[in-house]
Amino acid sequence: MNKKQKRLLIRILVAAALFVPLYLISEGIVETSVPRIAVFLFFLIPYLLVGHDILRKACNGIRNRQVFDENFLMTVATIGAIALGEYGEGVAVMLLYQVGELFQSYAVGKSRQNITELMDIRPDYANIEVDGQLERVDPDEVEVGSIIVVQPGEKVPLDGVVVEGSSVLNTSALTGESKPVEVGVDEDVLSGSVNMTGVLRVRTTTEFEESTASKILDLVENAASRKSKSENFISKFAKYYTPIVCYAALALAVVPPLFVLLTGAGMARYASAGALWGDWALRACTFLVISCPCAVVISIPLSFFAGLGGASNQGILIKGSNYLETLSQVKVVAFDKTGTITKGNFVVTAVHRSPIDEKKLLEYAALAECHSAHPISRSLQAAYGRHLDQSRVSEVQEISGHGVTAKVDGVPVAIGNEKLMGLIGVEFAECHHAGTLLHVAVNGVYSGHIVISDELKEHSAQAVAALRRAGVEKAVMLTGDTENVAKAVADAVGLTEYRAGLLPADKVRCVEELLEGCGAKRRLAFVGDGINDAPVLSRADVGIAMGALGSDAAIEAADVVLMDDDPLKIAKAIRISKKCLGIVKQNIAFALGIKFLCLILAAFGIANMWIAIIADVGVMILAVLNATRCLFVKNL
């Protein structure tokens, strides 16, 4: 609790200590000889003690011609009640209202703190070595290219490259991925990750302003200022709602008694004209107490903020409440292929029709290609996985557009496409697998082929299924790759629709076509890796960039940024948004429902002031507690 809250708490406690015995006594001595004025003065003490700031704010509001706010409602209602001789009720309302305010401010402060802790990636200092001594400096002051030292347990303050040491990094604050990452010399480290085991010396590559940690913090902080439709609706609603209920209360105080007086109907129920006016005035005051809009006004932005905070803790950065809202309505998802569904790196996926041991075949192939830096050669080397002794290779001959021939351990090896096989006169077998085929001939005999293709991401198929479960009706893959490969990938992950052979401009057109098919209520999300699909990302209702850690263009263009490249996070983002929007709707329906019910009860004189204030504060507390549920999205 901060100072302000503590002061309020003390005021509430003291006022309550005065008020409770006073109330009990006064209930007992109504008929005694204590003059009314004395009772009134006694009650005035706790009333002013607990409510003086509300009264002052209401006066200020009137002076600034911003009359209608909750302070005004409470002031009029309590003064009204006291003027009508209901001292106890008047003070109790003010007291409970302040309890509600205190709770609200405490709860909001608490969740603000929780969320900031979740996103606690701001580094406080950087260690610079000066004359063999470590010196702590502000990360802001470290120049690009400086060497910083990161000790175990410390946050990496700036992005950079490791020049010495190796360690294990915890990147969970950045990616939501709890598996630690090993780093060694020449590898990149990102600011905001936590060094766990060894001392690292890092050459910085960015200034603090440009570092990953600052960018993420900036993004999250800005997110809350892009307000969703629900938030805008509520702030507009509050603007009209409060004046309307004030006039309604006024009408309630004046119209029914006038009606009774003029027509005489029901007059028998009242002892006098004064009692008639008093009864309706009290109903009007009760009406005012109930109508206080705080529950809705506070719980909606709190829900969104908690949702954004919870999502970013899972490595899903959503750039604004408005996108969180749109995300919940996503019915169509368009994917980019490379880097989104597939890993974007080529690997050996199969070895077919090899009469010799597959390992041996790979060894021949890797050795024959060992002088090449082509991605395909590298994938062979990676598949072989052991050290390549180049001295075993001789007479290497590269035949452009065909492949390579070489002698490995003195054995002639030819590796390449069909054309090469034709050239050396070897019969080869066709393959039904999609991907790049490398035929191998050893000693002039066909020895099978190696299939090299882009690998599917581990979770791609699960991700597509999860999207369906999250309510996505249509998932389409857009790719520049050939029909053959596109079909294979689409089949493997369970996508029924795909468009192959697209240029980047075609992708925009495809997305536009899909958007047209969407209609007003269904939203389209495009998921890409941010590499040359920025126009598509910005054209879609929601652009989702994956694996965007460190890619500025993607962070700029996208509305939702997935920090790691796990496609399962797409469905998770949608589920988070749905949960959040669900809670927002619950709160609006629940708070307004209870309010309207109580308003009607109050108008008919069934609900008294006690019920009114308990309904008001109770609804607010429940709505706030419900809103904080948005924060808990880890197991969603």
């Binding site: 600034n64 401010s105 902080e221 800005n222 006004v297 709190l302 969104f304």
Partner: protein, 72 residues
């Protein structure tokens, strides 16, 4: 030009009122107040002096919400 300021305010509605007050201040092109992050983002008109404009913004916000604070 855009600038971001840290603020102190007690309730969501008060934050909305501050936002309205700031928007009406001459020299301010647009403004958003986030109650949750306690941040005020102000976009200034071209050629406006942020320091001077913010003084007015501060005064106007104080008028509608006495309890607020803007850390300039």
């Amino acid at each position: 030009m855009k600038k971001s300021y840290k603020i102190e305010v007690d309730c969501a509605n008060c934050a909305n009122q501050m936002e309205d007050a700031a928007k009406k201040t001459p020299g301010v092109k647009d403004c958003t107040v986030s109650f949750m992050t306690l941040k005020m983002k102000v976009e200034f008109e071209e050629g406006a002096d942020p320091a001077a404009v913010m003084q007015d913004v501060y005064a106007n916000c104080k008028k509608v919400e006495e309890d607020c604070e803007i850390y300039l």
